[in-house]
């Protein structure tokens, strides 16, 4: 079968925060690129995240996805495709030849992109991999009761609720007692996940603050090992958060179903005393795992495996955002600038070589 062919200086795989930021960075310097997103909409996971502002911005960065989309919509340099996945890649005389295939999936109007209609063979100088992460599946940590105990949800589900300005317990009513359990799928020797997901303490504390602000009669407990917040703002915000949120330094042993069907958190405090505490809603702060496509992409582009299964740069392949390791929204945007600069440097060196 004859494939439609196309040439572009840079191909970006992934249309989440990092991919869009990389495309914007290239576009601002007048360099054309093709961006291919597997899903039917651009913006990645962050697009569905809630604003966590209380009396002030909580600095989560979720609102900036819209800025990226708006700027790219107004720029001709970046050609954006949705429902487009890379199925094959090979290197030929210093160029990457990547085949994109349409992916199933329907949904909202993919503006400012268009859905890929047919297979496309792309020839490009550099590839930026910005394929994001996959959230840890809390079912794999069955003792926390996800999927079994009513009222146990993942932090992503809480994001979706807060994005709709709602908060609902298992029976639909706003919960009074909320628990966050940190490090679900992170810093866990039994799973072999020997890394901190970096963003969970931040996102969970922000959501805890948002809950306390919007539903002031609620009580929030925060079960954690160590607080991994960083940046000067957190140091200033922590005393206030301590008043708002009950910080408990303990990793719960399990979450069980109580007699009235509410979840109960079983834990030992630092002094070794056992507790069984009832809640209306238990939020599992799931960690960030390498993207599902990581091993397939690593094989396709001949990349050395990175630490913990994340991707790392290879010849003429640059990794941006969470595909390289867990990071926040704003950090991913900066990290994408690095990948874009690396791609530009490559294009530049090609130009110098061509000129002699």
């Amino acid at each position: 079968m004859e494939l439609a062919e196309k040439q572009t200086p840079v191909l970006i795989l992934g249309g989440g925060v990092a991919g869009l930021a990389a495309a914007r960075e290239l576009a601002r310097r007048g360099v054309a690129c093709v961006l291919a997103e597997r899903e039917p909409v651009l913006g990645g996971r962050a697009r569905g995240f809630a604003c966590k502002a209380t009396t002030a911005c909580a600095r989560c960065g979720a609102c900036r996805v819209g800025d990226l989309l708006a700027e790219l919509a107004a720029r001709p340099e970046a050609e954006l495709f949705t429902c487009a996945g890379a199925v094959a890649a090979r290197r030929d005389r210093g160029r990457w030849q990547v085949e994109l295939a349409p992916q199933p999936g329907e949904g909202a109007e993919p503006f400012p992109a268009r859905a890929l209609g047919e297979r496309l063979a792309l020839t490009c100088r550099a590839v930026i991999l910005a394929v994001g992460y996959s959230p840890f599946d809390p079912r794999a940590k069955s003792r926390f009761g996800y999927g079994r105990v009513p009222g146990v949800i993942s932090a992503l589900e809480l994001e979706a609720m807060l994005a709709q300005d709602t908060l609902a317990g298992p029976r639909g009513e706003p919960p009074r007692r909320v628990a966050f359990i940190q490090c679900v799928g992170s810093r866990d020797q039994s799973l072999g996940h020997l890394y901190c997901s970096r963003v969970c303490c931040g996102y969970a504390l922000r959501m805890a603050g948002r809950i306390r602000h919007t539903w002031p009669e609620s009580e929030v407990s925060f079960f954690h090992m160590d607080l991994q917040t960083y940046g000067r703002a957190w140091e200033e915000a922590l005393p206030e958060l301590r008043r708002q949120v009950h910080l408990v330094r303990a990793m719960p042993g399990e979450v069980t179903r109580g007699e009235d069907d509410t979840p109960q958190v079983v834990y030992s405090d630092p002094a070794g005393r056992h507790h069984r505490e009832p809640f209306d809603l238990v939020v599992l702060s799931v960690g960030l795992r390498p993207p599902k496509a990581a091993s397939a992409l690593a094989e396709m582009f001949g990349l050395e495996p990175g630490p913990d299964g994340f991707l790392q740069d290879g010849p003429e392949v640059f990794v941006a955002g969470c595909a390289q390791g867990p990071r926040g929204i704003v950090e991913s945007m900066d990290h994408a600038a690095r990948a874009a600069a690396a791609a530009l440097r490559l294009l530049d060196s090609g130009r110098e070589a061509a000129h002699g």
Binding site: Q189, Y195, D226, P270, G272
Partner: protein
């Protein structure tokens, strides 16, 4: 309304621009000799050919030094800037305002003042973006306190051709604005730069400076690692390492500390005890390093806030073990602490007249990432900003270079404010309130720096004389829009100003969902909520609005640092005024909002529309 024609006078700096393309993009017609109703001319009046001046005598004409507006950059950028300048001038031609004072073209050269990885990376990235770079500092190519020396050496060895290295040369003073910073450098004198990057390398500081330790006895950790101590078989050496006891450390400092603890533990007959409040393992490889240290035999003691009692300057340490429920004590032979790199703020930044306060310069705001500061074109990287070492600093430098390139190349056309000098009282309110440091004054004129202006319009809101405004957003233009809309709108005539950074995005999202609004709600987009100001709020009410809602960003999320706070202040002021007049103060409101909160906007507007309805 008079039809505006573009009259093209070829000037140096306009080479390569297609007059017809500029006219088309600006939405005006190119005049090639026919009759003229109103005109935009591409040169200043005094330099126009005499016949042309005679031909245009008595007609509304906007004389434009187009070459100064166009600047550098590639063809598309120059065309976009030229078209924007012409379009803006065309909008003015019939208003017959005085021509604005134009700043010169932005200087393209970038000053990187600093040392170590952050400075070198910034120099590399700015050069890659096509800007000549002066890399200046005491020893710019020496690693900073927490840099990887091998990586610094690699970057220093491969400096691109566009980077001029000025060792032993420090930045003494800085003035001006983006596109036109004037720097005073030791051994070089005064030079002009388009953008300035401050990236000092930082010095080693203990993370436990707040503890009452005998610092003459405490051993600095890097020095201890250079010659690791050893104990004896019957007398083990007790090493205590404090890694975030007074306050939790950064992830980078914690990782260095646990790696050091592991290495010290490997010495003969050495026992290392690591004290901390939080195990900060969020840096890459941090959790593994922490586990490796514990597996090597390092004792980890997590103490609560003020949970470690320090006696005799650190010769005796006492804490409570919750599991044993008893107090434990350690008399270490060697005491050391975690350390981090900290950089002193350059003294010239402490000039309150010239520069905003530090907290304002580096606002804690997610829109000021990638090295950006409140001052357009000034970037602060590395330890001075508090960025973790390694990859994060590389990323920050790349983001900063992308941003400065955008400012200097004219890649995005900011609608620079024009000043009506006959109205201007030189009170300098605009100069003081511009959040981006874009306005300066030369002699007796207000002069906006085109590369620095972000078009937020705060100057227009705060100017008491309506003498300054970005084109399209002046009070007369906004008033005209309000008048047209309010004349036709049914009750309740609710005016909603939406900020481009928040309200606008939420409004667009609702439009995509085909949201229907109650009748009588009028939306007015503004570049920043700070553009609205007191006069406009009151004008809307005067023109018949029953309510005014200003939808701006949440506190700490404004692209223009504090435009949202200004908006809130002015709305509160208007409410107090209404109250003093015996009117309902609730008729004016400020709504803090984010672009991804469309439902919040919909609810606030619908509630208010109901409340103010007659």
């Amino acid at each position: 309304m008079a039809r505006v024609s573009l009259l093209w006078v070829e000037r140096p700096g306009l080479e390569g621009l297609e007059p017809a393309a500029v006219a088309r993009a600006a939405g005006v017609e190119l005049n090639s000799g026919g009759p003229v109703e109103a005109a935009v001319v591409t040169c200043p009046a005094e330099e126009a050919p005499e016949p042309l001046r005679q031909r245009l005598a008595g007609k509304p004409v906007q004389w434009l030094e187009l070459a100064a507006e166009v600047g550098g950059g590639d063809g598309a950028h120059r065309l976009a800037r030229a078209a924007a300048a012409v379009a803006r001038a065309a909008g003015r031609a019939e208003l017959a305002t005085l021509p604005p004072v134009y700043a010169p073209q932005p200087a393209q050269k970038v000053l990187v003042a600093g040392r170590g990885l952050a400075a070198l990376a910034a120099a590399h990235e700015a050069a890659l973006a096509g800007h000549p770079v002066l890399l200046a500092g005491e020893e710019p190519t020496r690693p900073g306190a927490d840099d990887d020396p091998a990586e610094v050496e690699r970057l220093a060895a491969g400096l691109p051709a566009g980077v001029e290295l000025a060792s032993g040369c420090t930045l003494l003073r800085l003035a001006g604005a983006a596109g036109d910073f004037r720097a005073e450098l030791s051994r070089r004198g005064k030079e002009s730069f388009g953008a300035v990057v401050l990236a000092p390398g930082g010095e080693t500081v203990s993370c436990e400076a707040e503890l009452a330790l005998d610092w003459s006895w405490v051993r600095p950790l890097p020095e201890l690692l250079a010659s690791p101590p050893a104990g004896e078989q019957d007398r083990w050496l007790q090493v205590a390492l404090l890694a975030g006891v007074s306050r939790p450390t950064t992830a980078g400092a914690f990782r260095r500390a646990v790696e050091a603890a592991r290495r010290l533990q490997q010495g003969d007959f050495v026992q290392v005890t690591l004290f901390f409040r939080e195990a900060r393992v969020a840096s890459e490889g941090g959790e593994r390093a922490y586990r490796a240290a514990r597996q090597a035999g390092v004792l980890a003691v997590r103490v609560p806030e003020e949970g470690l009692v320090v006696r005799d300057g650190g010769r005796r340490l006492r804490w409570h073990d919750p599991l044993l429920d008893e107090d434990l004590e350690l008399a270490p032979d060697v005491l050391t602490t975690a350390w981090e790199a900290r950089a002193a703020r350059p003294e010239f930044l402490d000039d309150p007249v010239q520069w905003p306060a530090w907290e304002h310069l580096l606002p804690d705001n997610p829109r000021f990432s990638g090295g950006r500061t409140a001052v357009s074109g000034l970037y602060i990287l590395g330890p001075l900003r508090g960025t973790p070492p390694g990859a994060d600093r590389r990323a920050e430098a790349a983001a900063a270079a992308g941003d400065l390139h955008r400012l200097l190349s004219g890649g995005e056309v900011a609608p620079m404010p024009s000043v009506r000098h006959t109205y201007c009282a030189r009170c300098l309110t605009c100069v003081r309130t511009c959040p981006h440091h874009a306005l300066g004054h030369r002699v007796d004129r207000i002069q906006p720096a085109p590369a620095a202006c972000q078009g937020c319009g705060v100057c227009a809101a705060e100017c008491p004389a309506e003498a300054i405004a970005p084109p399209g957003w002046s009070n007369p233009e906004l008033r005209a829009g309000l008048q047209r809309g309010l004349a036709l709108a049914p009750d309740p005539k609710l005016v909603v100003f939406t900020c481009a950074g928040s309200g606008r995005g939420a409004l667009d999202a609702l439009a995509r969902q085909a949201h229907t609004w109650p009748a009588g709600v009028l939306f007015y987009p503004v570049p920043c909520a700070g553009r609205v100001g007191l006069a406009l709020v009151l004008k809307a009410l005067e023109l018949g609005a029953r309510g005014v809602l200003v939808a701006g960003c949440h506190h700490g999320n404004c692209r223009s640092v504090n435009g949202n706070l200004r908006a809130q202040l002015r709305v509160d002021q208007a409410a107090r005024l209404l109250e003093s007049l015996g009117l309902r103060p609730e008729a004016v409101r400020f709504l803090p909002l984010a672009a991804n909160q469309p439902r919040r906007l919909a609810r606030a507007v619908e509630e208010m529309a109901q409340e103010v309805a007659p």
